[in-house]
């Protein structure tokens, strides 16, 4: 019977996880089949103002989470949060200083492997996990962005934190309405099988005429057709389970910044809740996007985040801390949402930036917030060189991915997992 088969498969996967990770033991003991692990990654650009997020000396190892000026908005969810600091990445010379911060934040490429021109892009952590956990979901992964500037003035290295492979970025969805329609709307029926067959046949005809490099490029199309085929089948199954959309259809992009961010988070939380996807990324804003934007209720005028990071003087620093705190408040909101929907225990919610100090473009000493998922609570600080990839490897293992190494990882972070 198919139902029991599925449960068995889930159980086996979860059991594989329990071997290395104590968190799942408690779930394995529960009578119901353990819920699938879920992951959401939120990216904020241009680093954090260091003096407000981590003032003073921090000793290595565990300590209680101090609610510094930047972290103060996390007060209500302090017990659910792990704050990790001191992890490192390596900037690879050859591209702009900001370009790798976001595009390679979740990458699995070691710094010496620049497989994509000068960029060490490769399959990102969310996609590695999606391949493991998302195979039976309507959408293996969800890529969102709240950069609503229409001018697309920067390259994809600024617009995408999720990459299918070296030099192959996932397209992001910026309009909440389109996300909703993809998840719950009529569009989930998608094109008919006969239409998919037709374009596939046509693509094969085209393929015959192409040279090697172009054939590889067309592979993106062929792969997309197959993925769409699978999504439709699973969406139909999901539609039988969930008859009605769990939320009203959004009208479009909300005018206020906070509303926009919260709506996008709501969408992936609902997607998790209905098991339409298990992995989501949300790019709050791209790196180095020199366009002033409104942070409603924080400033009464538009602010240029990137320029402020390079502006001296107390006024700028104060602004920077406020923007960081604004994003922390958003993070706290998402944690509360996950808690309210009882998803927090099975979800790992991550927020961070690809650089620590925005002014000096420091790819080392990174801060990462982790909530849910059964991580040890508090503040854990790493001294010396410890690759960020170790954290990603730890998460990949949690998701059941059997990986020895991830990018330049040296081992899992057993002390916090």
């Amino acid at each position: 019977m198919s139902v029991s088969n599925m449960n068995r498969r889930h159980f086996l996967r979860a059991a594989g996880v329990t071997l290395g990770l104590p968190f799942f033991e408690s779930l394995a003991r529960a009578s119901a089949p353990p819920p699938q692990p879920r992951f959401a990654f939120i990216y904020t650009p241009n680093g954090y103002f260091q003096k407000a997020i981590m003032p003073g000396q921090t000793r290595p190892g565990f300590s209680e989470l101090q609610l510094t000026p930047t972290l103060r908005p996390l007060a209500s969810v302090k017990e659910d949060i792990t704050f990790i600091s001191g992890l490192d990445r390596q900037f690879v010379p050859g591209t702009g200083v900001h370009a790798q911060a976001g595009s390679c934040w979740l990458t699995s490429s070691a710094p010496q492997e620049t497989l994509d021109g000068g960029f060490p892009t490769n399959t990102t952590l969310d996609q590695v996990i999606a391949r493991q956990t998302g195979a039976d979901c309507a959408l293996p992964s969800l890529e969102l962005s709240t950069n609503d500037f229409p001018d697309n003035k920067e390259t994809r290295y600024f617009e995408s934190i999720s990459w299918f492979g070296p030099g192959y970025a996932a397209n992001t969805e910026k309009n909440p309405r389109a996300v909703f329609q993809r998840l719950f709307g009529q569009g989930r029926g998608g094109p008919a099988q006969s239409v998919l067959d037709t374009v596939l046949a046509s693509a094969k005809d085209l393929e015959k005429r192409l040279g090697g490099a172009d054939r590889a490029k067309l592979g993106e199309y062929l792969e997309s057709v197959r993925a769409t085929e699978q999504r439709i089948q699973r969406a139909e199954a999901a539609a039988r389970r969930n008859a009605r959309p769990p939320m009203p259809e959004p009208a479009g992009i909300p005018a206020r910044r906070g509303d926009y961010l919260r709506l996008m988070a709501d969408l992936f939380v609902h997607a998790f809740q209905n098991d339409l996807t298990r992995v989501a990324t949300l790019l709050i804003d791209p790196e180095r996007w020199d366009s002033p934007r409104m942070y409603h209720d924080v400033f009464d005028k538009p602010q240029n985040h990137h320029v402020i990071t390079h502006t001296k003087g107390d006024e700028a620093k104060e602004k920077l801390a406020k923007i960081d705190a604004f994003h922390m408040e958003f993070y706290a909101h998402v944690v509360r949402r996950l808690k309210a929907t009882e998803l927090l225990a099975s979800t790992t919610l991550v927020m961070g930036s690809g650089i620590s100090d925005g002014d000096s473009h420091n790819y080392g000493d990174l801060q990462v917030l982790v909530a849910g998922g059964g991580w040890k609570r508090g503040h854990f600080h790493y001294e010396g060189k410890r690759p960020l990839a170790d954290l990603w490897l730890t998460m990949a293992r949690q998701a059941g991915v059997r990986l020895e190494r991830f990018a330049d990882s040296t081992g899992i972070l057993a002390e916090i997992a």
Binding site: L206, Y221, K301
Partner: protein, 913 residues
Amino acid sequence: MKALSLLVLLFSTTARAADVGAFLNTYCLECHDTEVKKGGLDLSMGVTEAKGPLDRDVWRLVFEKVESHQMPPPKQKDQPDAAQRAELLAWIMDTAARPDPALGGADPGQPALRRLTRLEYNNAIRDLFALDVDVFMFPERLPISDKSYFQPAGGNMPATVKVPLREYGQKYPVLCRQLGLPGDHRAEHGYRNRGDAMDFSPLLLEKYFAAAEEIVNAPELVARSEVAARLFGMAAPPRQAGPVPWAAATAPAGAVMARDAPQWRKAEGVADNHAQRFFDDLREAFTGGVGGVFDAGDDSGAVNKVPGKGGVVRVAYAGGTKALTINPNVDLWLAGFSTVTPASRPRIFTNQIKGEKAYELTFGIENGEEDEGVMRLGVFVLGRKGQSGPVTLTAKFTDDTESSVNSMIEEGAAGTTFFSFAAVPGENVKSLRVDGSQFSGDYVVLDDLGFITSGQPKPVATLKPAPAPTPGPEVASGRVGEPAAKRLAAFLERAFRRPVPEAEAAPFIALYEGGRVRGKTEAEAMKAAVAAALAAPAFLYVEANGKPGGAKISPLEDHELATRLSSLLWASIPDEELLLLAKDNKLHDHEVLEAQVRRMLKDPRSRELGESFAVQWLRLDQLSTAKPDPDLFKAFYAGPQGKSTLHGSMLIEALLLFETVLVEDRSILDFIAADYTWLNGGLAGLYGIPLKGEASEVVAGVGSNPTREVKKKSESGLWQRVRLTDPNRGGFTGMAAPMVITSLPFRTSPVKRGAWILETLFNRPPTEPKVAFAFEDDSKDAALGMSIRERFEAHRNKAACYSCHIRLDPPGFALERFDPLGRWNENADASGEWAGQPFDGPAGFKALLAANPHEFTRGFIEHLLSYALGRELRIYDMPVVEKIRRAAQADGWKFSRVLVEIAKSYPFTHVRQ
């Protein structure tokens, strides 16, 4: 190590190469040998032409660094002399031009397979169905609500043009209002049409599917597109004039008037013989070219929407040399109503939205005489079955006085009432307000709008008629009556831009037939097949494979060439003529190619060269997000809460220069040193340049209120071509747009300006700084009393920064005399040195550029060639660029010559397999 490499040089190459080897040995190898390898560059591999493409890229880097005097390091004492430098550059150029030994010929390059950009996708579908509107709304479409000023066929831009702008984000008429597609990312230092910068993922595929579905099922598609109607096997729709219709004014129909006379009443307060007198005068005005009746004489029953605010109906009169424009403030229908009893023919105006019975029409004259306006106006309000009530018409005059006529419209045809207005001498009718809020029907219907202008009557026969405003729709697919499969196959050829073998059409025909078998109507089944074709890779991807046969280098197939041409010049698909030439295998002929380029440039679709290429080239797309500090730069903002800004005006000024050079086939040197520019009231005020007629009228103030006169002249949509006396202005570097793009909200940024010039004008973008740098205390307060210049000098003197900044800073400093809005700032220090010559201010810098236009012309041609090819340029393109450059120079730098030579060039017509 050095000795060895020199040995290699001596034995592997000619005596000239030995000189090159000596150059490297003396000036380069101390840092760039295998041991030190500074910047990752090792030049000790020797000078040989026999190396592969990798080495060629190294040589390109050497060329650029040595040419621009960035290397050897400027602070190094021992420098090569000019002759030595030139010799090295000539040798590299010569090497680049040689055949690639691995290919057995010169390398034409191989662009990555690319899909249509969002703009091209829109245009391709628009042209496939011969639509007169965009398919959907997208931000790359410039917010110009009426582009009819762009008429390349005439080869001249008029002295004044009207460029009405939509407010940013305002809706405009498109086929599918809800449809959207994700935008494309630009390539690093390149354009959005680069395959290597594009991705394709399930998300995007599903968007293409959904879009195709929505397009073929759009309710308006069949009504707007004869092609679609035929293809779907539906009755051909009535002929369409489009949403911005052109209509010719007609003579007042005397016979009709007489016959209908008993049926219509005059409005109260109108003298008994007033109507007849108006019609007599109107008839005379028509023959004198100063009036006519808008009735369009179209009995087709076509329904056109005229959108509120942005929409304009043009009524041509005076033999088609002038036009009355009618601009409604709400959406109107131009329609035939079955319940209407027309006064003459069934072309009428009415509110489109049910119950929106108060609306206003604003009038204008295009190509009229100075101050020509509507002097007298007459119009019928139609009586309708079962509807009655009072209707008030109010004419507003140019002296801001008004005149209202109220009349009771009775039920049925007898209720049809004639209203007329006349301005006092010297004034004109500005607008007509219609108020039918008390009328019992949902629509207030107007017919037979007659107008007499204040122009000088001239016999129309002596006037030269204007060219037809829009090209007729092309018939893209088979005729109705042909079997569906045949119509579909014809459509596929057009959509895929090439012959489609039967086997390839088969899946689409099978999809159609499958639909029929399952009980779909012919139209439904056809729509499904067409939608599949619009999401198929053969439509979405641009093929450039060359002729099959396995050769390493191959000429493009003619139909591939056709698509390259149409992508370059129209950002769209080839038209019938191009496809026919390709089919006959004639297109690759250089004469044919040249003729086609010239033909295509005369087509209004060539506007896309400006909207797509120029906007990206100049980075004008970044204007919309530039936000000068509202406290410091009040001049940028106007209206309530600073809602109106100068963004749009600045964009249009730059676009108009590009379009002028394009339409008038002028020298591309105009881009850096034109002695004219286009100004509207807003920019004229910003620059402090008076517009024509403005000053004299203000002084004279002849019998009217001078301020009102100025206001009228300064209307933001009206642009005057202005001859410049100040050499600091003129060309893109003398315009506000680049200055705003390259400024921070509260101060200028010489670095950004320098980088903009290096990248845009010279196509030599500076490398990004590897270290972060910021000024101490770089805040708004500091900006107020700033001396940016001094702070920069300190910075560039650091050794790590010097070799870039010596090139980056001077152009930036030259433009320092323009403030963050592009206003003149006399006090800024704008002196510097460029190519060994001192300059002061923008004019001085421009003079140096113009004296030696090599850097700019090369940069421009490289930009355009890269856009044309959809790939990054490589060293083997250098000789090609030089060839195009020389040909253009010999032809007075004409823009069309550049485009023709690009179209004929080796990499445009060939591909590496």
